[in-house]
């Protein structure tokens, strides 16, 4: 119900508010009668216990809440353009110094694990966040730039993880050899999956990609001779630093990391090492996609997102443009998947469920489609906060949902929805660029 239209210039219409709140209370009554009002009694024997006060409280709360919301919407000043214009201006100003900000961010993150306060949990959490930042940047190519709504991105993450693992275990290849191979296999997979969905757009594309994501997971579960089924695969080796292993007791004739540097063994060394790997991988993803955006191919992605018909009329091959976005996006998921496998040491299909796709997509959308910084912010909000709030485990989903609603109300285009042009003529007068999107 659109409450905003109920109020003319002639002040607050109490009748409309009361009617609206009454309707909401009625709905609450219907729901509460059975949900709150009746309960199986503890005494056994299947007797029912009635709790009329619960119903009254629930209905009264809904009535009051709805009336308050209606009042608030009715009395506030009409919004001028986008919500929170000052935020838009701040974002626009910050975007002008994007490079500096990124350099500062990566530097700060790079120093983080070396600080004395860094413990295992902290480094581990930072690693987890970076994985999602990288996945978000990868998916950003597909969703944010090319505008192809992909709900099955986790499939490529899984393909990367499994191809890395299988290559590493069966062919005894090192991490640094397997990583590009896994990325290439995931990219190939992306192109293959891209073919049948070329003609689809929007909702239809989303549904089909969602299906592909689930299919990939189910194939992994059922192809147990290769993938170990739902048991997964264990014993994935941790990468080495130029041949130095992170182990307290190296094999004979081998030097471990701590021996080489003459420091006592610490479990955190391995975590810090893993963190730097994902930091470099994420940095690569960032640099690559920022660079691509300024190239003809990247502009073609954005053009396709904006208007496919006009793109075709300008001679852009939509097949090539879409498949390249799918393939490159999948490649970065493949890299991230390889890293995930080596970090965990084991993989099984339960790590690649739909909810993962949904979280990665939420990171991209909440961050602001196409915004690189937005992905970082959203990944921190969506990954770090739930991890830190583990004590309130029951309320995690509630917080998650609340944050989503809040962002969609105040920032419907995402946290940082400012688009910086890929190229400038350099003669634009100051202020010619609009903050935020129209």
């Amino acid at each position: 119900m659109d409450l905003g239209n109920r109020f003319g210039d002639d002040g607050i219409q109490w009748g409309a508010i009361l009617k609206d709140a009454g309707l909401a209370a009625l709905v609450a009554l219907v729901l509460a009668l059975l949900l709150f009002g009746v309960r199986l009694s503890d005494g056994g024997g299947g007797g029912l216990e009635f709790r009329p006060w619960w119903v009254v409280i629930a209905v009264a709360a809904v009535f009051a809440g709805r009336a308050a919301v209606a009042l608030w919407i009715g009395t506030r000043k009409p919004a001028s353009g986008t919500a929170l214009p000052w935020f838009d201006r701040a974002v626009a100003r910050l975007s002008e110094h994007k490079r500096l900000l990124f350099a500062a961010f990566f530097l700060a993150v790079a120093i983080l694990p070396l600080l004395p306060v860094a413990d295992r949990r902290m480094v581990d959490l930072a690693t987890l966040v970076m994985i999602y930042v990288m996945l978000g940047w990868g998916l950003n190519i597909v969703v944010g730039l090319a505008g192809l709504l992909d709900l099955g991105y986790v499939a490529f993450y899984a393909v990367g993880a499994y191809s890395y693992t299988l290559l590493a275990i069966h062919f005894d290849l090192s991490f640094w050899v397997c990583l590009p191979l896994a990325g290439a296999i995931a990219a190939l997979f992306g192109v293959l999956l891209g073919f049948p969905v070329l003609r689809l757009r929007g909702d239809y594309l989303a549904i089909v990609t969602l299906g592909f994501g689930e299919m990939t997971r189910i194939i992994i579960i059922n192809w147990s001779s290769l993938t170990g089924g739902s048991e997964g695969i264990t014993g994935i080796a941790v990468p080495t630093l130029f041949g130095l292993r992170f182990t307290p007791s190296p094999a004979a004739g081998e030097t471990a990391f701590h021996q080489f540097f003459g420091i006592p063994f610490g479990g955190i060394h391995k975590l810090i090492f893993l963190f730097y790997i994902i930091l470099i991988l994420a940095l690569l993803t960032h640099l690559f996609s920022e660079r691509m955006r300024k190239l003809p191919m990247g502009r073609a992605w954005e053009a396709l997102r904006e208007d496919e018909i006009a793109s075709r009329a300008l001679g852009l091959n939509p097949v090539l443009v879409k498949l390249s976005a799918f393939g490159l996006g999948a490649m970065f998921a493949g890299f991230a998947g390889s890293f995930f496998a080596t970090r965990q040491g084991f993989i099984n299909p339960s790590s690649f469920t739909f909810i993962e796709s949904a979280i990665i997509l939420a990171i991209v959308v909440l961050g602001g489609m196409g915004s690189q910084v937005g992905v970082i912010c959203a990944a921190i909000v969506l990954i770090l906060l739930p991890e830190l709030a583990r004590d309130f485990a029951e309320f995690r989903m509630l917080l998650f949902g609340g944050a989503m609603v809040a962002i969609m109300v105040w920032r419907p285009r995402g946290l940082l929805a400012h688009r910086v042009p890929s190229v400038r003529l350099g003669q634009a007068p100051p202020g010619a660029l609009r903050g935020g999107l129209p």
């Binding site: 053009a303 009329a313 003669q427």
Partner: protein, 290 residues
């Protein structure tokens, strides 16, 4: 091949549309239409609403595949049978650019970016599938600088240099129309198809548009196909005019000839004392006019 008597037969036609028909599930949108267009000329296509003008355009630019007929484009790049080509190939290989009745800029990209996307084919070649671009090789950077200069030249011509870095969707309607034409021209077409470029323009802007189209014809020697309702535009700048009515061609000739053609007058005004029935289907006197 052409049944047309062209006044200046020495210049061969660049675009030959022959016996073009398009059926949509039993509805005939265009019925056996033949006409031709030459380079360096503006060919106007006019007709009442629903006459099939945009359908002809969509067939030429590959958005529809015609049911019957041949659309041949001849220029120094070769001979192209457009009715068999995919839309993006018609734009990329045959050199046909178009604009749209409802403007189709890339609204959230800047004006400059819009003009660069139009030069995609050239830039993509220079970037060697993005590899040279990713490495920042001079070969690509030079190509991009050149493309930006092309765009700047167009913006200069339109007096819109200041708007270069603005989001295209934020410009005024008339400016967007001009940018769309400039974008089409940035793809270096041989044939430029404009679908109602004067729609929604005020008289001053319409006059500017006329000037722009005449300049484009003069400076680039492209053939221009023009669908237009505004008679001031069509009659003022077209070298030839093709008139469609109910999917069929009813007249073809210079603006002067067409203006005085009784078939055209009937189609537009209705015959005196015999109003709407004249619009009924069937061979009209003007059809196949010598």
């Amino acid at each position: 091949m052409s049944a047309l008597a062209s006044p200046d037969a020495a210049v061969p036609a660049m675009l030959e549309v022959a016996h073009l028909s398009m059926h949509f599930e039993g509805i005939t949108a265009i019925d056996d239409v033949s006409f031709s267009a030459r380079r360096g000329e503006i060919t106007g296509i006019i007709g009442p609403n629903g006459a099939g003008k945009t359908t002809v355009f969509n067939c030429i630019t590959g958005f529809y595949r015609p049911s019957v007929g041949r659309i041949a484009l001849d220029h120094e790049g070769g001979r192209f049978l457009l009715e068999r080509m995919e839309g993006f190939r018609i734009a990329r290989d045959a050199g046909v650019a178009r604009t749209f009745q409802n403007i189709r800029l890339f609204p959230r990209m800047t004006v400059l970016e819009n003009l660069l996307v139009a030069q995609h084919v050239k830039l993509m070649r220079a970037s060697v599938f993005s590899i040279a671009g990713l490495l920042g090789l001079p070969r690509f950077r030079e190509a991009e600088a050149a493309a930006i200069e092309v765009a700047r030249g167009w913006l200069d011509r339109l007096g819109l240099v200041k708007a270069a870095d603005r989001e295209a969707g934020t410009l005024a309607h008339g400016q967007q129309r001009k940018i769309e034409i400039a974008r089409a021209m940035c793809s270096e077409p041989k044939l430029l198809c404009l679908d109602e470029p004067a729609a929604g323009l005020n008289p001053r802007e319409t006059a500017e548009l006329n000037r722009l189209l005449l300049d484009i014809r003069e400076d680039y020697g492209v053939g221009i196909l023009l669908i237009e309702h505004d008679m001031a535009v069509v009659m003022g700048i077209s070298d030839r005019v093709v008139v469609l009515n109910y999917g069929a061609k009813i007249s073809d000739g210079t603006p002067e000839e067409v203006r005085n053609d009784p078939a055209v007058i009937r189609a537009y005004l209705g015959e005196e004392g015999d109003p709407p029935e004249t619009n009924s289907r069937g061979p009209s006197p003007g059809r196949g006019r010598p």
